[in-house]
Symmetry: C2
Subunit: 406 residues, 2 copies
């Protein structure tokens, strides 16, 4: 067993220290998604981007019972055969905060890299699981039909590649959509960003507001406009292809039918009922549209509350927040063959476990068999999810689940 | 008495309706400060700008006792001699929300133009009074010396026009500073914005992030850099000249000495103690520096809480939040000759009343004699504070105060 040097914190790196911070210590909108700047930015996304707030409501906080357990010594094995312990994992995987809830009790809670219990952290693509869950709830209520073509609700897409896709295909990301292929992505020229499948498309990021418009930009004005330009490449419904714009289509349908921003829908349906400690936020694009596949910010415990609500089949804080049938459907998918369903990653068939996963190490891991929820925020130096830090986290969590089941 | 047609609401104007909103219904970062776009934007500043949040803390809300009074019929006279009633004033002065607290009880509370009790609204330049009050508290604690030159704390300003100014002069805006004079302000070309003394300087707004950098911008990178380029024009300490950069100097001194962002200082000193209903926010510039003279966002009741705390000489929510001596000093100034002191406007000598005032109709009116606090958020069509709507508000409040004293 070898304990590696812990990663440097934002403070140790000097990021954003001082008034003003020296130019080389600055984290900007342009560098916010890159390591090591993300050691600061993922806890400060609101300071770099416009956001829509999601009010927690006036109700009391739904506090977790605490029963801190000794799980630090639980071993896990990485794919190269080396063994580590759970307690080593948070630093090795550049954790900002990790909360472990077992049988409804908070058994482990740690904050690193300057994060506090009240800090809101980026979910990145983990946001998709929030949007997907809300969409599943509204479909269940009959607001829209999962079997209908998306153009039933969004006629703007009639001439696009989305035309023949159903809402269900969008929800499960089995659409066959391509866009802006062959265009160079300036972000790829950054060190540590050499994995094109894991970075958002440049034009997409620009229309969503995550990256600045270059001078002379003449592309689509809004993400809505961009979605309408996307083309089909193949047959919808045949295979899973991870593509963030699917989430935007889902969000657009909900906004269109309810005539409300996604932030307000989430407020009414989830956040006002969850007993959250703090408001949530969504990063918004140029027409204040939520970046529904990437822009959610919450505290760590609030992420854990959302996970625990799902683990409890929708019942939390004294009320049924989402219908049991939806969670049953997700759990059924977790035992099926697709790696992704309802905008959740299916990660352990035997346990029926599913997970929200986001760029840079964001995770909400829900394991029904182990009665386990793990919320984890991180700031990986290599945002590509094939880095070593990713495999630490993804070896430690199933090992923890197995130990808790025994 | 003539009741004018009420102003159109954001909804009636169609602003930001639909997904996406049609191009002519959009409110953007570029138009956010202009009427009628401000009917939407002043309640949605967070969706158009990066912000730093100010956590309310974990404590309970300090609820106001309610004793709704009948003040609608109290008459006031405008300067042209026409008479209106207090109940007419909110619509005539484009109010988004108004709360009246008398003897510690909420006697009047109205929301218009779609505003809700939980909505955070822009304080605009009313923010200065928050920054000034915090500065007065820290000076009282001895963190810095009001009689010292600002360069004692900010040596970066040694070669600037600020060099010989004291902190007290900055606090009372009796510095003699000029900058970027003669440069055309593109905002002035907008209809309704023809009053140069009331608009922020263009370059200043750009460095603070309120307005976009034009292509080829080669000015100062940050507001800190800009402050260091400002020149002296005359002798410091001779007369009051309203100039927002004074507030930035104050905030910079506090951030430098405490090594914390202004948002965090406000959190620790004020917001965590006030029993606020919601977090506050500050709009931030490119190095995430708070726009200390213009960027505060809070709910209406939270603004009233801050006012009531001052009316009660710093005691609120079961604790002394700011020292009595500071409020006594402000009240003494309110009976003096200067129109502005401690970053508050002095508005009624007889009553010792003082007021925070912000672009577009933001007011926190504190009248010790009448035991009255009025918090008012508005979205004037003419942001210039010489518009008719301004005089409605500024005639109605003293009339209300007089009626309550009788």
């Amino acid at each position: 067993m070898s304990f590696q040097r812990p990663p440097k914190t934002a403070d140790e790196l000097g990021l954003m220290r001082g008034f003003p911070p020296s130019p080389d210590a600055r984290v900007t909108h342009a560098t916010q998604l890159l390591g090591p700047y993300n050691r600061w930015s993922f806890q400060n996304i609101q300071k770099l981007n416009p956001t829509a707030d999601v009010w927690r409501g006036n109700g009391p906080v739904a506090h977790f019972d605490e029963e801190l357990g000794d799980i630090d010594e639980i071993p896990y094995q990485r794919r190269d055969g080396t063994t580590y312990t759970f307690g080593e994992m948070p630093e090795l995987s550049y954790t900002d905060g990790i909360a472990v809830v077992h049988q409804g009790k908070m058994i482990y809670e740690r904050y690193l890299n300057g994060m506090q219990a009240y800090t809101r952290h980026a979910w990145a693509s983990g946001s998709k699981s929030m949007t997907g869950t809300i969409a599943a709830m509204l479909a269940y209520e009959g607001l829209f039909d999962l079997k209908a073509p998306v153009t039933t609700y969004l006629p703007e897409l009639n001439a696009s590649g989305w035309a023949s896709a159903t809402v269900r295909q969008v929800m499960d990301m089995t659409t066959a959509i391509t866009f802006a292929e062959g265009k160079p992505d300036p972000l790829l020229e950054q060190p540590g960003m050499a994995h094109p499948s894991m970075v958002e498309n440049w034009m997409y990021s620009v229309t969503m507001g995550w990256r600045a418009r270059p001078q002379g930009y003449a592309g689509p004005e809004t993400s809505y406009d961009l979605l309408a330009t996307m083309k089909r490449a193949g047959k919808h419904g045949e295979r899973f292809t991870y593509l963030t714009p699917n989430t935007d289509i889902l969000a657009w349908i909900m906004k269109r039918l309810l005539d409300k921003p996604l932030a307000d829908i989430m407020q009414e349906r989830i956040w006002s009922k969850l007993g959250a400690e703090r408001d949530a936020c969504w990063v918004v694009g140029p027409t204040t549209e939520e970046t529904s596949g990437s822009g959610l910010l919450t505290t760590l415990r609030d992420m854990a509350r959302f996970g625990q609500m799902l683990l409890q089949q929708g019942w939390f804080n004294g009320q049924q927040i989402i219908p049991t049938a939806i969670v049953e459907d997700i759990e059924r998918s977790a035992k099926g063959s697709s790696p992704y369903s309802h905008h959740w990653w299916m990660v352990n068939k035997e346990h029926g476990a599913y997970c929200a996963l986001g760029f840079g190490g964001q995770m909400l891991y829900i394991d029904p068999r182990a009665q386990l929820v793990v919320a984890k925020f991180s700031s990986y130096p290599t945002p590509v999810d094939g880095g070593e830090e990713f495999f630490h986290a993804f070896a430690a969590l199933p090992a923890l689940a197995n130990a808790l089941v025994r």
